[in-house]
């Protein structure tokens, strides 16, 4: 008998947009799956590829990086750097055996509580479909 799989998502949310967006989702009473474990970072540019690799090693089923929309970064350029790094890191992790779909970059602004809940719901859905990650 199959036990339903509850994926664990590590979410790195930028303090200025996405964390506030997640907060808005909470204060607006918007429900989203509790599968995400949120880590607040000063900027999406703070997310070292090492954090992502370490999350996967310690058993995360998915990693989400969320930051301000391009052009809206509190530090002007942090998210542009994130975008470049992500573009290279995602295919690289895929090459080393971690499905592309398990690693996401999303732009969520402080006013997008609804979008945040949709992103988490969609990501959880995807991870449930792929199933647990074998370590």
């Amino acid at each position: 008998m199959a036990v339903s799989h509850e994926p664990r998502i590590v979410g790195f949310l930028c303090n200025w947009c996405s964390y506030a967006g997640a907060d808005l989702a909470g204060t607006s009473r918007i429900t989203y799956p509790a599968n995400i474990r949120i880590i607040r970072v000063p900027c999406s540019g703070r997310v070292d590829p090492l954090f992502v690799v370490k999350s996967f090693q310690l058993g995360a089923d998915g990693v989400l990086i969320a930051g301000c929309h391009p052009g809206d970064c509190h530090y002007t350029e942090g998210n542009y750097h994130t975008r470049r790094r992500f573009a290279l890191l995602r295919p690289f992790l895929d090459y080393l055996g971690i499905d592309q779909e398990r690693f996401r970059l999303e732009w969520v602004s402080a006013s997008e509580g609804k979008k945040f809940s949709e992103v988490v719901a969609d990501f959880t859905e995807t991870l449930k479909r792929i199933g647990p990650r074998e370590i």
């Binding site: 090693q57 391009p70 542009y80 975008r83 295919p91 690289f92 080393l96 999303e106």
Partner: protein, 283 residues
């Protein structure tokens, strides 16, 4: 060829242009070669250059950055020098580069020179040094080409196959960190692999610790690896590290149209950004 290198080294040492020439000499097994530091003009006859000169000597320049130094460099090593110059680790005025035209070196196994070439040479088409003060040999005029057939082969595997392929290789890793020690691009004073708090790469023997090390080591060299193949050459358990490095090289070329170590002035892709970047993600 060897005479040219010796004469130039002698001239450099006699005129005191440099204090030291870094090159190759025969190793004690009478077969392979090893790095040598020549300080006296009378010693230049120890220098050789042949198809066993595998080492990338550019790593030694980091400790001699303030002292005038001559170096014998193959094309891949000159890319290493370019990388270090680009990252402001060396001073051009303190360097005298004796570039050597190279058509590939040979593998040595069981005390015999084999007919096959190491991975780095099989896919290399840069036969003329990219930076030099004095060139030994006839420069090759053909433009370098890129061949990533080995990478595409792995990319075309199924995810499960790929996972099995890498876990088979990474499980062998003994984390000797030789790949880092020998790498011209790894000059951090404190490597993330040595940090104890936080302990990024655990000291326990557990699944994934080797994977973390190998993944992040390679990613720290993304858009920086100059494909000298020293990590793969040094690896005591024969992990095909060039397959990891060359994947990043391929993607960097594709996404940013950038090749590390070709130019000393160009800004590397991760040190800059473009607002209008079209990378297929997060636009």
């Amino acid at each position: 060829m060897i005479e040219e290198i010796r004469n130039k080294a002698k001239e450099l040492l006699e005129t005191k242009t440099v204090d030291c020439v870094i090159g190759y000499e025969p190793a004690t097994d009478n077969l392979t070669s090893r790095p040598v530091f020549i300080y006296e003009p009378s010693q230049v006859n120890r220098l050789i250059f042949d198809e066993t000169c595998v080492h990338n000597l550019s790593k030694y320049l980091i400790n001699r950055r303030y002292k005038p130094t001559g170096i014998v460099a193959k094309p891949c090593d000159t890319r290493g020098i370019n990388l270090l110059l680009n990252e402001k680790q060396l001073r051009r005025e303190n360097l005298f580069i004796i570039g050597v035209v190279c058509s590939g070196i040979r593998k040595v196994r069981f005390n015999q020179i084999e007919n096959s070439m190491p991975t780095k040479c099989q896919y290399c088409s840069q036969h003329t040094p990219v930076i030099y003060d004095f060139l030994v040999g006839e420069p090759v005029t053909e433009a370098p080409t890129h061949n990533y057939s080995d990478i595409t082969e792995i990319e075309n595997m199924s995810p499960a196959q790929r996972k099995a392929f890498w876990s088979e290789h990474f499980d062998r890793c003994i984390r000797c960190y030789g790949c880092r020690q020998v790498c011209a691009g790894c000059y951090c004073y404190e490597c993330f692999g040595d940090e104890l708090d936080p302990l990024w790469v655990g000291i326990r023997i557990a699944p994934g610790e080797n994977w973390v090390w190998n993944t992040v080591r390679a990613f720290h060299l993304s858009a920086r690896c100059i494909a000298c193949g020293e990590c793969e050459h040094i690896c005591p358990v024969n992990i095909p590290l060039m397959l990891v490095n060359r994947k990043l090289e391929k993607d960097t070329l594709h996404l940013f149209d950038f090749e590390p170590g070709i130019d000393t002035e160009i800004v590397p892709p991760f040190a800059t950004y473009k607002k209008e970047d079209k990378l297929g993600t997060g636009e």
